[in-house]
Amino acid sequence: MQLFLQQVVLGLLIGGIYVAVALGFSLVWGILNIVNLAHGALVIAGAYLTWLLFAHAHVDPFLSLPIVAVALFAFGYALQRVLINRVIRAPLFFTLLLTFGVNLMIVNALLVLFKSDFRSVTPSYSGSGFGVAGVQVPYVRLAALGVAAALAAAVGWLLNRTRTGSAIQAVAADRDAARLVGVDLRHVYALTFAVAAACAGVAGGLISTIQAITPTAGEPYTLQAFVVVVLGGLGRVGATVVGGLVFGLVETLGQTMVPGLGAGWANAIAFALLVVVLVVRPQGLMGRRP
Amino acid sequence: MTALLSIDGVTKRFGGVAALRAVSFELAEGEILGVIGPNGAGKTTLLNCISGVARPDAGSITFDGHEIGHQRPHRIARLGVGRTFQIVKPFASMTVRENAAVGALFGASRLPLAGAFAAADEVLELVGMADKASQPVVSLTIPDRKRLEVARALATRPRLLLLDEVMAGLNSVEVDEALDMVRAVHRSGVTIVLIEHVMRVIVGVCRRVVVLHFGEMLADGTPDEVLRDPRVIEAYLGEKYAKRLQEAERDG
């Protein structure tokens, strides 16, 4: 029973990370109808930036999150405006190819800069945690969950309570109508992508504290983000939160509860889950029926 | 004489809304049936159910003795039912001729490639598009795209053709041309069901009209009968106008 509780707690904690990772991905998909295959690369770029600040400037990873957010925001804005915007009206498949190409460029640029050695961010409180009812709760993961929650709240606030958010939602609902009422489409697109990149960067910063990073470590996160969005349903921040937590739980419990199911099968589980959901309930757990 | 098409108690729901409610009627071979009703009355849903694009929740649809209510669209097309869409769906990267030829390759026609192109030419002639055969679809005007849609459906050699608002968006002259086309199609032996809002067309070419309102059949008769039916007038123009019309008629 205690083991089970421990796994549930860990599952929720890692679920928080998945929420952070998926937030930006869901935003770009929902608003721009782009499945960004370079999302994982943005995440890992954020992780590397956090590591840089930690290793060379001794900045606590959690304190550097705002810096990472701003940096990735700017990068994301430029990326969308210069490159991705050119295929926004093209068939879906071309956007997939383009973002894949961007992914290749970012990941390999990171390889050139940092080589493939594993890096980690280990602040002083790294290994410790506290116990509650016999369950161990690591500080770092709890803080990560907190940040993820704050991030989700921030994005939700942006979308629902600001003028910018209204503009973004208007564009998502009806592009032409939005344009007719004076919304600058290109700016809104770039802004949305920038916010998503900032979220990805923050997620990367969180990830750098709980696992060792290498340029190619971002790949699984793109696909996991996809699973989270499909699981929860596209559209609302709440859906992404649900999807992320559920995915975290399923993965953690699945790996420890089912004997013989080692880490090697993690990806296979994720994708089996994905395909099943897509075929059986494509709108996700909380999505609206198409 | 057994009916070519028999709709019996067909009901179709979307979520909580009943788009069709126990609709029943029969259609004999060689008829041109008009289907009218205010927007949202369920007309397109009816066509969708007949052509297999939608599946009725209750009731049965029989075509030429075959139960088609739960068949997939391509099966129904092979039995001899063709249809057009309200918002045309051409095969954009093909020429006019190829669009028509694809129709001849499939449906009830199923000709081999060589024969399909010949059949395409025939059909294009019938709808008046023969001179535009090698044009790419993207260069066509709206009326021409609608003609192409009809041509493609005709190429499948249907016995029953369902036309969904073929006249929408056409000006007066274009409507006349389209009317001629519909008559020509009918003369070639095809039974037609025609959804329309343009009354001139209904009156001009249909000998029988069915009225749908909120998914229910309101009336079934000649255009004259149906258009004078007070319930129909009320449905289209509202209770107040219907009353006024009644009073006017009573007063001479």
Binding site: L98, L104, N108, L274 | G82
Partner: protein, 342 residues
């Protein structure tokens, strides 16, 4: 009149030159044989060039296969490498001394079958998805199959399988792969000018319209998927015995996956010779990049850049520069030839 003759003539000339070039390139490796030596012929190609040619032929098969589903039918699959891997493993298991111990010919003959069966099975649920969902679901399937294979001992587990090495068999494998490439192009050509091909294009252009005119969309999509799987699997099978080694990384390489897509799109998705052109251009580029220092990383960046450039500037593919109309079918090509011959 004059202008049309010149345009058509130029195209005809280009085709003949291209055809001759291909024939020469295919015959040149024969100069590396002993018989050629005894005839006193100079050796025109060396081993590494034969390897490159074999790789080119392999990608022609894979890009053509992808083209059937992605280009013609409009279902952009991101997981065709699964078929490559399944075909490679099928052949490897078939010829393995400790497993089925069949002759190589049998292994290669079996290689298309398992992927085709797999495609028919998973295609039914997968092909109900569209756009992004289909792309990611196929990607997920490819990754999942790769992972499963890695965990099964009979399939070599994490180590992989080692088909017996054949010595001095460079030319054999070259011509096997070229044969497969020709098969792929011929099959594509046959499909493009058949009812099946028109049905697939109709599905791509407007699936709902296609179904109401009588195209059995499910059967056609699954059929195209299975044919693509068979072709890709064949390439995988030949690869396994040519390379004398197959493991999860090689067989389900995401690199191969994206390359076959890029080649088809770069050359011209939905056309007959687009994939061939795309393979030649991309392999040429990659081989030239391979000469510089810290290879892999820069090649990857180049690949990413090329993807971006292709998608933004050449979305219809290189073939488009040779006359857009020829995109649709071989019929146009024949007509063009006929026009100039008249």
């Amino acid at each position: 009149m004059q202008a049309r003759l010149n345009g058509g003539r130029l195209r005809r000339l280009l085709l003949i030159v291209f055809g001759l070039a291909v024939v020469l390139v295919l015959l040149a490796p024969l100069t590396a044989t002993d018989q050629a030596d005894s005839l006193g012929l100079p050796q025109l190609v060396d081993r590494s060039q034969i390897r490159i040619l074999t790789t080119v032929a392999m990608f022609v098969v894979m890009a053509s296969g992808w083209n059937l589903v992605g280009g013609l039918t409009g279902y952009g699959s991101f997981g065709n490498v699964a078929f490559f891997g399944l075909g490679a493993y099928t052949c490897a298991v078939a010829v393995d001394v400790h497993r089925l111990h069949l002759p190589m010919g049998a292994g290669i003959a079996l290689a298309p079958l398992v992927p085709a069966l797999f495609a028919a099975l998973v295609g039914l649920p997968l092909l109900r998805l569209r756009g992004h969902y289909f792309a990611i679901a196929t990607l997920g399937t490819a990754v999942a199959v790769g992972e499963v294979v890695k965990n099964v001992d009979y399939l070599g587990g994490a180590t992989g399988l080692f088909p017996p090495i054949l010595h001095r068999a460079d030319l054999l494998f070259l011509y096997l792969m070229v044969g497969a490439a020709m098969l792929a192009v011929i099959v594509s050509g046959l499909i493009l000018r058949s009812r099946f091909g028109y049905g697939l294009i109709a599905i791509r252009e407007n699936e709902e319209a296609a179904s109401v005119i009588g195209v059995n969309t499910t059967a056609y999509k699954v059929g195209a998927f299975a044919v693509a799987a068979a072709l890709t699997g064949l390439a995988g099978g030949i690869f396994a015995v040519w390379n004398s080694f197959i493991n999860q990384d090689l067989g389900f390489s995401l690199d191969f996956n994206i390359q076959m897509i890029l080649m088809a799109v770069l050359g011209g998705a939905g056309t007959l010779f687009g994939p061939v052109l795309g393979v030649i251009v991309l392999e040429f580029l990659l081989q030239n990049l391979a000469g510089r220092g810290d290879v892999a990383v820069y090649a990857q960046i180049g690949l990413g850049l090329l993807l971006a450039v292709t998608v933004i500037f050449v979305p219809r593919g290189i073939v488009d520069f040779f006359g857009g109309a020829s995109r649709l079918s071989l019929a146009h090509l024949r007509r063009a030839l006929r026009e100039t011959g008249a």
